[in-house]
Subunit: 327 residues, 2 copies
């Protein structure tokens, strides 16, 4: 049994707990929280909850610690810190800061003889794998990533900060005409506006100025001004009933040529359709925790990413069984 620890019990932490239940070779060993552990009731019976300050006392009870904090402030500190005690996996997703985060985790992991896998999930994660595979197989290809249809937490939060807004949900939606053009192999140049639209469902306070709120949304720099945005005002009840989930997904499409004179077209497409973004992300984290456990047993230390992991390491099946049943 691979003993998994969870650091942080939000959407992602609960997702990891659920994912462990789908993997018979894994068990949840402990949950760590910044809150008071006494007040935290988790879903799995008989698993202890500790304050994060107690982590060191449990370093020999856990094979891989999954860090379930946020990328903005938690993970840049937590991952290099906890790798001193544990093999770790995180879902650090601030693309621009990955090199810096990698170096910090690599240095700490090598110093303390532990292995860390960063930036795991679906983007970065499964989508990254597909970008790398496609560009290696079709060296001249153009690769396009589309997100959605799915809920963007960051954009939903940005709307909630507007005066007069009680609650909001924002969906990122890929433009189907753009998808079709990319799939056709024409390698179009697409602006931000041509790739995605943004759909907002907004609940306002009684008597709020809807015109002003809509204007503030669609003109908001960085978040909405570069997109075609639609704003729908709905009741609190409707938001709860129809927009309570956190679905997401997307597409990685690569098109490139083969043949001595580039005479053949090829399109490679990978897509995800997910009812719950955090539940799927957690499932990826847990599969890679298995790989980290195995690579660590082989003596690997420092930092790796999904790009460094042989696919067979993710599976509970033995290599000969994989070759027989899946190759």
């Amino acid at each position: 049994m691979i003993r998994i620890g969870i650091m942080g019990y939000g959407n992602l932490g609960r997702g990891v707990e659920a994912a462990i239940a789908h993997n018979p070779d894994m068990e949840l060993a402990a949950v760590f929280t910044r809150r008071s552990p006494d007040g935290l009731k988790i879903a799995t019976e008989g698993v202890p909850v500790f304050h994060c300050s107690e982590a060191e006392a449990h370093k020999d009870d856990i094979d891989v610690l999954i860090l379930c904090g946020g990328s903005a402030t938690d993970l840049p500190k937590q991952t290099p810190e906890y790798i001193r005690l544990f093999n770790v996996v995180d879902s650090f997703d601030t693309h621009a800061n990955i090199p810096e985060h990698f170096d910090a985790v690599d240095a700490s992991g090598n110093k303390y003889g532990r292995l860390g896998l960063i930036s795991c999930g679906w983007d970065p994660g499964m989508f990254s794998l597909n970008r790398v595979y496609a560009s290696a197989v079709l060296p001249d290809c153009a690769t396009y990533t589309f997100w959605g249809k799915g809920v963007s937490q960051g954009h939903s939060d940005a709307i909630r900060r507007i005066e007069g807004v009680k609650d909001a949900r924002q969906y990122t939606v890929p433009v189907s005409e753009a998808l079709d053009r990319v799939r056709s192999g024409e390698n179009p140049e697409l602006t931000t506006r041509q790739k995605h639209t943004r759909e907002c469902y907004v609940v306002v306070e009684d008597g709020a100025d809807k015109e002003r709120i809509e204007r503030e949304i669609v003109t908001m720099p960085n978040y909405f001004s570069d997109y075609d945005t639609t704003v729908n005002f709905i009741s609190e009840q409707e938001l709860k009933e129809k927009h309570g989930g956190i679905p997401h997904g997307g597409f990685v499409i690569s098109s490139g040529k083969t043949g001595l004179n580039g005479e053949y077209d090829n399109v490679i497409e990978y897509s995800l359709k997910l009812d719950s973004n955090p539940a799927f992300t957690s499932s990826v984290l847990i599969a890679y925790a298995r790989a980290v456990y195995r690579m660590s047993k082989e003596g690997k230390t420092g930092c790796v990413t999904v790009l460094d992991v042989p696919p067979a390491y993710l599976s509970p099946l033995a290599p000969e069984q994989l070759r027989k049943s899946m190759l």
Copy 2:
């Protein structure tokens, strides 16, 4: 520069030659043939052509030899034999015999200190990767593989062997209703007949009995009797004009549940649309030749498959560049 050798100059060998031209870190060092080397004119200027019996004399001039023979009789002999002299990559695709082939190549590779990668291409190959990734991330998922629309050489050959047939082309076509049901996440049980249809384009000799030929095709055991097959009789001219290519492709679709009580549905889909089957297969072989070169430099010997190769090893980009630009 990675020095590539090609063993066998058919569709696949010519595809490998073309794929090398798309990869600036590779060069074609030599082509080996069972025919008379004097009669063989290859597309690349200044590259020597040798008889296959001369391979040993060139073992130090080639980093990876790509074996471009067939799976039925060539590769089971060639791969364990040539790995005594070279690192090798093959496209062995008789799924049922992969374990046996692996063992033979592994034993020979370990004995002679060389590395071989077998069963490379798109199925087995890229499709295998996607079956393994999906089943690791969604342990309870159902995975479906569909092939086509594309030309099946084996089925085309089977039709050509019928008396009165001059030429033929057979397309394997996935049933779109089956694709839709799988994508919907309903996890249907599908018979052979429900997954694919077979479309045949047949040119007959003057005065041949078309009714008999059609009956022989649609009732042919193993090849056609389990499928809904349509037979179209066309002229030699039309076959040449409209069915001269070797397109192929297909879909790997996995659907599985996440969440503590399996309350969330997820669909993962990978698809390929290829103008030329051998040209794309060759492009995959060449990307994995890069990985074999690198793993061999690290001291790895014996046999591996695509499931054993870290994705980063396929790319000409350095790991830090991959993390920065593609993760």
